[in-house]
């Protein structure tokens, strides 16, 4: 018995097959979900993957959040369904108000692709229990609109409640406030981050590190033990 984890493909999604592979590498079963389909096929968790849904036209994630599939994702996330948003998926989660704040263009105005050092700040979410709090990891980052912003009160709340899940270390690649790389909702089932854990699951590929694999083993353990 394993867990079934859905990966939504929007028009312009790019990392859907990579994310399915990462889920497989972790030992779970990936399930392809389609943006026009409200049916989540009874998956146990959902990943909104990276890419440029709708070309990032208008604003990253702004159009995708109105897809039929998102109605169901929003409803079920509020009822506790684990949801992970990676990069464009994170942007969609903020546009859908499942996570607070929003993303602006990188402060240096260029696309940036690099092996990024992070600190795990919260190892209690549905997607991070296989890390330890304070652990330093390297995960590839690649984005154009990765500058996390929120109003002061929201930032204070995130910090006070320990909801900053990941923070950039050594170098802030996009001008994100408080060096925020990823956050969680209060319940800990919805997590979003800009770096791409699905690109760090095999020792031979990409940067050669597997620091992203615990995202997928964390959720698998949680679901199988549930």
């Amino acid at each position: 018995m394993t867990a079934r984890i859905g990966v939504v493909t929007f028009p312009g999604s790019l990392d859907d097959r990579d994310t399915q592979r990462a889920i497989r590498v972790a030992g779970a079963e990936p399930v392809a979900l389609w943006h026009k389909d409200k049916d989540l096929k009874q998956v146990d968790a959902v990943v909104l993957c990276g890419g440029f849904s709708y070309g990032d036209y208008l604003r990253a994630g702004a159009i995708a959040r109105f897809s039929p599939v998102m109605d169901t994702v929003v409803d079920q996330a509020k009822a506790g369904l684990p949801v992970l948003g990676i990069c464009n998926g994170f942007q969609i989660l903020t546009e859908a108000h499942l996570l607070p704040g929003g993303m602006l263009g990188n402060d240096h105005l260029h696309f940036i692709c690099r092996d990024q050092k992070l600190r795990v700040e919260n190892a209690d979410t549905a997607w991070t229990t296989d890390y330890t709090a304070g652990q330093e990891i390297h995960i590839p980052l690649k984005n154009m609109d990765g500058r996390y912003v929120a109003d002061r009160r929201t930032l204070d709340e995130l910090e006070a409640e320990g909801r900053v899940a990941f923070r950039y270390l050594d170098f802030n690649p996009n001008g994100s406030l408080n060096d925020i790389a990823g956050i969680t909702n209060a319940a800990g089932n919805v997590v979003g981050l800009m770096p791409h854990p699905e690109h760090a699951v095999e020792s031979l590929i990409g940067t050669g590190r597997t620091d992203g694999l615990p995202f997928f083993t964390s959720i698998l353990k949680k679901l199988v033990n549930a």
Binding site: L14, G50, G55, F111, I112
Partner: protein, 752 residues
Amino acid sequence: MSRTPLDTVEHAAATPDVELPWAELGLKKDEYERVVEILGRRPTGAELAMYSVMWSEHCSYKSSKVHLRQFGEKAPESDALLVGIGENAGVVDVGQGYAVTFKVESHNHPSYVEPYQGAATGVGGIVRDIIAMGARPVAVVDPLRFGAADHPDTKRVLPGVVAGIGGYGNCLGLPNIGGEVVFDACYQGNPLVNAGAIGVMRHEDIHLAKASGAGNKVILYGARTGGDGIGGASILASETFDDAKPSKRPAVQVGDPFQEKLLIECTLEAFREKLVVGIQDLGAAGLSCATSELASNGSGGMRVTLDDVPLRDSTLSPEEILMSESQERMCAVVEPEKVDRFLEICDKWDVIATVIGEVTDGDRLEIFWHGGKIVDVDPRTVAHDGPVYERPYARPSWQDELQADDAGKLPRPGTGEELKDQVLKLVGSPNQASKQWITQQYDHFVQGNTVLAQPEDSGMIRIDEASGLGVAIATDGNGRYAKLDPYTGAQLALAEAYRNVATTGAKPLAVSDCLNFGSPEDPAVMWQFAEAVRGLADGCRQLGTPVTGGNVSLYNQTGEAAIHPTPVVAVLGVIDDVARRTPVAFQEEGQLLYLLGDTREEFGGSAWSQVVHDHLGGLPPKVDLERERLLGEILISASRDGMIDSAHDLSDGGLIQAVVESALLGGKGARLVVPDGLDAFTFLFSESAGRAIVAVPRSEEVRFNDMCGARGLPVTRVGVVDGDTVEVQGEFALTLTELREAHEATIPALLA
């Protein structure tokens, strides 16, 4: 153009004396007369539009064709070649039932006029070529050349080009794994923006551009047709720039990578369901090219109703619709009973698809507009029977003088301190400096199969997760070498790309090229071109790597000043298991450094002569392709059998440049000893070809030496991986921190 009355075929026949704007459309007088002769009447406006774009230099290869034939005539026997020159891209067998298609093209002129869109649509075009063969695109590479790094216009062109490549390729989800960035004043005003792509498919999925089977439907799908890019091929890419003429900016197309991503997915889904008989992308010359090529490559004719083409701008004339180079469009030939399913798939991906015509029994391409027949031609005469020129060529009068100006006579550094200063100057010069500021604007990781990406010697992609089968690609070119001797320069480009592929452990299989030259109307340029093609064709025969396709870009000159002749060569290789790849970075302290090959006093065209003396003269390094092949075999065997842990090819900048790169990437220094028989300067800066430096674990030293000895490859122990300095014993030492500062600060300081 006047549209009353409609210029139908009938009207044209009845009004032989109507003057047509053939000269404005780029046709020469004798070319126009040839069109009239073919048709037996004056062409209609629409026919003239088609002939003018399809007979342009860019589409017809009229100046280069007579030389390019050598790639076929001299092609080596190769079991690997599945589809050769002439299709959208060549296809190579890489084993296990997989086929790989790859190609390099130029988008030079548009990228100068409008850097972002020019470069972006260059990526879009080459990717559509790959899709049109039936393959899923898996990676892109971008060989780029700009004017002097500190010229103000370079700061306009380069950031735009890089952002355009990133903006388009990143949005398509294609990892950018290789390419080059070169600066030279000769490219001022004529930057070279070449774009390459690789695609993977199963053998049975290969598709070709042909329309066969009367009654089959012709479906245009993708973006609507607009007024952009009209004359891109004929007006822009087939003439030199001239300040006196009006701005050519409107001739540059505008890209929409999101639309192209949808086009990729819906095309691949249609292929999977076997819905497609023939397919062609719409690039240069747009519908004129797609309809005439599909029809002339198939068994029948074609009838097209132009009124059915979805438009962005309803006021476009039929001539404009035929010439438009609006991006992100494809044309498929589909059997009638499969049309519904094809349209359904397009609808799933929100892609507009329209039946615009059908394949007919005859042998004519007929196009209708508002009920009138505006085109009635034999499609072969449009697509294949364009003019062929035997342009005069002659070795330029200055060539002897250039070659006599020997770089060996330049003053050399006399002390360790001078050597050290020149090393720092070299590794921090724009051409030798780290290009990270550029490459970090490209996504390397998407698709999750990238094994190696720049600054590695070649990019490498895994294509089978279970077996680890992978492909590698390297692109190289050195305009300075080619200027000194175009025949040798082309072979050096081939040799370097071949070596770069082998250095990572992959076996070189096939070649694509992008030949960038000045005006073919200048006999000196034409001589450079003829020599380079001859050199490349001879070299490919000797190395056993056939040319599978490519692209020629002429008229890269402003006024009388042509660019250096710049043949860019891409070599594709295969590796059975990507786990055996060899990286550039030093892996472990204590490993022994071996120099493979012979080092001679060769400085003509070298980076040292450029950086230290601003000199270009003499002869380029000698080429020995048998040696290159042997070196390649050794590097591949050593990688497969685990005898080396890192390897780096030696090319521009010589040995010291390679060692510094391996040291900085690995974060480990090196102690070097000048071998007997060489002086320190030649050891460090010579650019003799056929060489690589490898790091051998001590446990493998005997076995590695035995292998090189048995196969007759000169091998010299030159040092050890050690510490945090690069030291040349008895001469100088530089810390990695100093080297990193020199190597990495240059490009951001100039361009960021």
